[in-house]
């Protein structure tokens, strides 16, 4: 059994690990450091100990023949007859990952009457596109989509499977990964292939400004999901490749416990993902009433208002307006953050924005690490002045007309 081991000889009871533990699982009892049973073996304490007094035993498992597993499989997401951008983003990342290796990139596309979609995919530098086209796949149904996925993986034996972090992805990825008794890292913000050809999966952890670097050393395939708009899209090539493979699933595997009775498109309001300019309010706002400043700015700039999670939790902003890992990923022309500290979760959701202007009273604020224009100042002083100036500009423009 694995556990956190404490070397009492080396431990000087400095308590650095105690304040570092996100779970409150370390304690000093009778002048000795002890671990409680709520330790999750996350390893945060290991990095904080300057005396090498802590370690976690990890076992190597030699049973798996990893050489049998190679290449990358990308799950193609489509909706209303269109391939979703996240698919091209995953292909783009996969093509970068395989550079300098013998790995190739493959795609899996499942649906009904999807020949046109498959044709579009042949314009990407993918070795083969496996297409499963059948009436049974008209709607997403977890059980039979899982069957398809298993079929494809059993044939290809990919080392890595990449899936978009969409609703369908969040449903299918853990199901398929579990069925192969393998691991899945959700919502990765970066993926790297190390020298052992292992997929290094990086994602924010523990809700703080910390990143976790995760590997799946002894299981294959290695599964990862990536949220839309995080990676860069692959380039479309000029002439299509002849790379479509039509696949069939055994009739028995087409039987689903799920029956779709009705499907309705919900009206899509223009959301913060569609805005060209976003004005973001954070916890720098002291009172809900003060949010008029961001509303007004958004109106003057023809933009929209968005928010960090802190204000959503307070009930000052609706969830649809939340940017970040547990909210929406946005990529506007310009984003102005007002009183937002810049947690990893927040920045993950907006750092690819074209122009980032950050206003924060604290000149050491993390948000400044990604801002194109960093402003150390008080929103209560700057925003009213900015609003006033923009109104003046508007007036001038109106007078001219």
């Amino acid at each position: 059994m694995s556990e956190l081991q404490i070397n009492d000889e080396k431990c000087v009871l400095c308590r650095a690990c105690i304040s570092a533990c996100p779970f409150g699982a370390l304690e000093v009892v009778d002048k000795k450091l002890v671990v409680e049973d709520n330790c999750s073996l996350c390893g945060v304490c290991l990095n904080t100990c300057q005396f090498n007094a802590l370690c976690i035993e990890k076992q190597e498992n030699g049973l798996l023949d990893k050489n049998k597993w190679s290449d990358i499989l990308v799950f193609v997401e489509h909706n209303e007859g269109k391939i979703q951008p996240v698919t091209y983003e995953l292909i783009g990342k996969a093509l970068k990952l395989i550079e300098g290796t013998s790995y190739k990139v493959y795609c899996l596309i499942v649906g009904y009457k999807i020949t046109e979609l498959a044709k579009e995919l042949s314009y990407y530098n993918v070795e083969k596109n496996f297409i499963y086209d059948h009436k049974a796949f008209k709607n997403y149904r977890e059980d039979i989509f899982c069957n398809v996925f298993q079929d494809c993986i059993n044939v290809l034996m990919p080392a890595i499977v990449l899936i978009g972090g969409t609703d369908v992805g969040k449903s299918i990825a853990p199901a398929v990964a579990t069925s192969f008794h393998s691991g899945l890292t959700a919502d990765c913000t970066e993926l790297i292939l190390n020298e052992k050809l292992e997929l290094v999966q990086i994602r924010p952890a523990f809700g703080g400004n910390v990143m976790a670097q995760i590997v799946t050393p002894n299981h294959r395939p290695q599964f990862a999901t990536v949220r839309p708009s995080i990676m860069e899209e692959a380039n479309r090539i000029k002439s299509p490749r002849n790379n479509i493979v039509n696949c069939k699933l055994d009739e028995k595997k087409l039987v689903s416990q799920i029956e779709v009775l009705k499907e309705k498109q919900m009206e899509t309001k223009e959301g913060i993902q569609d805005a060209k300019i976003l004005i973001v309010a954070g916890q720098g706002f002291k009172r809900k009433e003060d949010l008029w400043m961001v509303e007004e700015l958004a109106m003057l700039l023809n933009g929209q208002v968005a928010s960090s999670r802190a204000l959503v939790e307070k009930g000052w902003m609706p969830y649809e307006r939340q940017i970040g890992l547990s909210g929406k990923t946005v990529k506007p022309e310009a984003i102005i953050t007002c009183g937002v500290s810049g947690s990893v979760q927040f920045m993950t959701g907006m750092k690819t924005s074209k122009t980032i202007i950050a206003i924060n009273i604290d000149s050491d604020s993390p948000i400044f690490s990604i801002a194109h224009q960093s402003i150390a100042g008080d929103i209560y002083e700057i925003l009213p002045k900015l609003i006033h100036q923009l109104k003046e500009i508007d007036k001038l423009a109106n007078n001219k007309n």
Binding site: S19, L41, K170, P174, I214, E263, S369, A376, K385
Partner: protein, 263 residues
Amino acid sequence: MKIAICIKQVPGSNELTMDQEKGILQREDGRVKMNPYDLVAIETALQIKEKYKEVVITSFSMGPKRAREVILSSYAMGVDQGVLITDPKFIGSDVYATALTLSKGISLNEEFDIVICGRQTTDGDTGQVGPAIAEHLGIPHIYGVIAIDKIEEKHIFLSQQIENKKISLRVKMPCVLVISKEAYIPRLPSLKLKLEAKKKKIKIMSFEDLNDSDIRKFGLEGSPTQVEKIYFPNKSKKETLLSGNANVIVDAIIERLKGEKLI
């Protein structure tokens, strides 16, 4: 009808800060609470119980001993019985191992018709445990459930939201439901039930009770994913930091927006 719900205890505050001088993580406080997404799972089960006859709800939680608190909270909302799956051997479980442990606990207790999970937790935030439990149990799951429409003898009728589509489904039971946060508004615990909860028993299951002698399937060893390293992201170099006179700052912002042709 038998309903199982999976609930988790999470840190009360998610704020982790860094002690800049020592370069170490600092936890704000040691308080804990029930994962808010799981409150919706409990509410869903309670709503079914109010509408249909002979419904028994069991809550399952895996965690340290103090996680019994969340089972007590579920009693205070109206859940009938609870099981705490706890053992130091489960420490270090990733999603795969957690879901395996929970699914063993669930299937060893009773034959459940419906298993309900919250959509995600506020600490791990991976949102995978529900689908993984379903796979371990060998039954289908429905992700993003926004309403229970009707229950017949062998089937449950549901509404599901997938991206911007609302889908009505008829699903054969048993199945796992992953509930959206928007589905139902969780009720507050009642004082009467809260007092009664204290007297109610909680069934405890440890590794020995899981009918599986292979310890390598559980805890850190049973976890396919391993955390190699935890680190603070590098602060990249700052571009010029503007401070001081607010008028100068405002002009700079306007110039920047003009430069991007946004005004």
